[in-house]
Amino acid sequence: MEKLFSEIYNRYFGIVNLLLSKKGPITKKLLQDTVQKNGFGESLLFLLPRLSANEWELFEEKDGVYHSRIKGGVKQPLSRLQKRWLKAVLEDPRASLFLEKEQIRKLKGSLQEVQPLFAYQDFYYFDRFSDGDDYTKEGYRQHFRTILSAIRNGQMLRILYQARRGRNTKLLVQPYYLEYSVKNDCYRLLCRRGNQRHTLRVSRMQKVEIGENAADVDGMMRKEKEPEKVTLIVKDERNAMERVMLQFADYRKNTVRLEDNRYRCEIFYDKDDETELLIEILSFGPMLQVIGNEQFIKLVQERLKKQAALTSMA
């Protein structure tokens, strides 16, 4: 069986290879910078001394600088595990967003000696939403590729977008990320229109065209908004603590243990995700109590008031 935890994927090997592939002389400063930039926090302490002392004799020393003895470094062949993973993911319907059918067929041909690492029927996403995107639609694929090209080249996009109530709107946006939602099985475009951030679902785009070149690719466009914060008290009953911590593991959070089996947890979220977070919190029932911010508490109270007014449940 193939190993995932293997030295062939080791970060130190990667750093050594980077150094070996350097064309010019390798100064001590370059050694240090390369380790610092590519290593772990303490690699300067553990890897650098061994490289500086040329312990592995991978370099030739001349006039106080090193030269690689393995010119150009090495280009590691693909491991069986990597080939098997590639073959498996080429079966995903989303692969057709990146590659034509014929290209996928040829790629699979190049990987014919290995079995796919997994098949799609090996996995069952039991709580995934059923209205995921249709990746086989030609229009969808074209839109996806146009977006990809615009992001890569820093171009604006002109989009004819179907808003929630079926109305079409023309938008000129600066695209900056494509986001895949595992739960919704769909792609969304994260973009900016003027000073406003927008999230547009790719499946609702009626027309996508490249606009004029973008004015600002890396500055304002990618700048993140300050996250909102909701503070919760978790009472560790019915294994609630673990369930809460796991469910909110995709959010940045801070947790502090209080007394009486209670915990205070701060969750940081985007304003756009507020409704989703609210219903996730409600799904835990009385095991979670929102104690801040005030506006979030009001949202919970509103839902509960409405529920209390629906008397037939009582």
Binding site: K3, F5, I8, A249, G285, I297, L304, Q307, M313
Partner: protein, 431 residues
């Protein structure tokens, strides 16, 4: 002098620490019973070293103990930082030398050498004196990993390198696909190793509703997938909250499918287990599986297929992962009927939510602004978190037996739990 090392031989121990620091973020030294203070300190130091940009160190309430947490916002990332855990395997000097020198000697596509020839070349080209046995062992190891190919000629064995990424057709288009899939596909860490090897970085894709901790279970997943494909039973050592102090319990069964929750942050293996009197499907959490032992006996294709088909049939009535009926002896299935209020003019997305999130349950408009959702399940209680997410709209919740009769006692009990939870929430928020 400390013998602390940044790299490790075995990933099992640190896997649990990373998970605890990431998922909980409030545990300190005293929360790791059975581990020495030294072990805790070393593991903590290592994790700080591997993930310095994500670590936050602070003191518990009252300042009694120091703890660390990993601050990761999955939605803002270009990759999963926890993949770094897989880049920490320790190695010997010989491993490193042989890795670079052998792969360089075999770099040309038509280069093919025996172990003895490679041993000589190591000396000629790099003045590296290696013994034949070590060279042969490393070559065989790399052939096992798929980096090298083997050709036998009589008693002689020749090694050459295997396919490189840049030799694949459409490598550039493929890189975009890998940038995206490394974060949301099973075993995405493997895709990440390809990107790293190509010195490529994802700058375009983000993932929402992904769980970074999944990667910590990837070795377990790998073994289970092998067993699924080889139709072999597995013996698992499972350690959960109840048996944390002990070695865990052993479970034997035939793995058939991996169940993934996109909301709860858990993955499970669904196995067919046979006891002395009963046989049933059960789901075990991957993060609680500490050891996978693939047994050698292979199930027949027929029997495996029959079990798989039965699973496909049975899981239609499973909301999450619970195959056991809630009330033994009272019939295996329960019909959950949920009546919801939604203003049709301004909230058309509410009945849509019932449809897309309701796992195949039916949705019917029964009156103006009133919708009825029905689903037959094995364990109605599993649906409660989802039902609670409609708080503010729930007109009624009733649970029937599948023969159409209301499961009076059980319905009352479940309804009581549901209402009592609501009451507690009203009290909490002063409603």
């Amino acid at each position: 002098m400390s013998d602390f090392q940044e790299l490790i031989k075995n990933i099992d121990k640190c896997r649990d620490y990373v998970r605890d620091f990431f998922v909980y973020g409030f545990k300190s030294r005293s929360d790791f019973p059975g581990k020495s203070a030294r072990t805790y300190d070393d593991e903590r130091r290592r994790i700080v070293s591997w993930l310095p940009d994500y670590v936050r160190e602070d003191y518990s309430e009252g300042g009694k103990s120091k703890n660390i947490s990993l601050q990761i916002d999955q939605k803002k990332l270009d990759t999963n930082p926890l993949f770094r855990v897989w880049q920490t395997k320790s190695f010997t000097d010989k491993d490193l030398m042989l890795h670079f020198c052998l792969l360089k000697l075999l770099e040309k596509k038509d280069a093919e050498y025996s172990a003895a020839e490679l041993t000589d070349l190591l000396m000629d080209e790099y003045a590296y004196e290696a013994d034949l046995q070590s060279v042969r062992r490393k070559c065989n190891e790399y052939a096992e990993e798929g980096l090298l190919k083997i050709r036998k000629e009589g008693k002689s064995i020749f090694y050459s390198r295997d396919l490189r990424f840049d030799e694949l057709p459409y490598a550039e288009e493929l890189l975009d696909l890998i940038c995206c899939f490394q974060m949301d596909q099973p075993l995405g860490v493997v895709g990440n190793t390809i990107l790293t090897g190509q010195k490529e970085k994802n700058e375009i894709f983000h993932v929402k509703h992904g769980f970074p901790t999944f990667t910590l279970e990837d070795e377990v997943l790998l073994s289970l997938l092998d067993a699924i494909h080889e139709k072999k039973k597995v013996k698992l050592r499972v350690q959960n909250n109840r048996n944390m102090e002990r070695e865990g319990s052993l479970k034997t069964g035939l793995p058939l499918q991996i169940f993934v929750s996109t909301r709860s942050g858990r993955r499970f293996v669904c196995m067919h287990m046979e006891g002395r009197k009963t046989a049933h499907f059960t789901c075990l959490r991957l993060d609680q599986i500490k050891e996978v032992n693939v047994l050698s006996v292979e199930e027949s294709e027929d029997r495996r297929q029959r079990l798989y088909e039965r699973l496909m049939e049975e899981k239609k009535a499973v909301w999450g992962v619970s195959f056991a009926p809630l009330v033994p002896g009272q019939g295996a299935l329960q019909k959950v009927v949920l009546t919801i209020y939604a203003d049709e003019q301004i909230e058309p997305f509410i009945p849509q939510r019932l449809l897309r999130e309701g796992e195949g349950g039916s949705v019917e408009r029964i009156a103006q602004d009133t919708f009825r959702y029905e689903k037959t399940v094995k364990d109605a209680m599993e649906m409660f978190p989802w039902i609670r997410s409609f708080t503010g709209r729930i007109l009624d919740l009733t649970i029937y037996g599948t023969d159409g009769e209301e499961l009076t006692e059980e319905n009352e009990r479940l309804k009581k739990i549901f209402l009592s939870d609501l009451k507690k929430m009203y009290d909490m928020y002063g409603i």
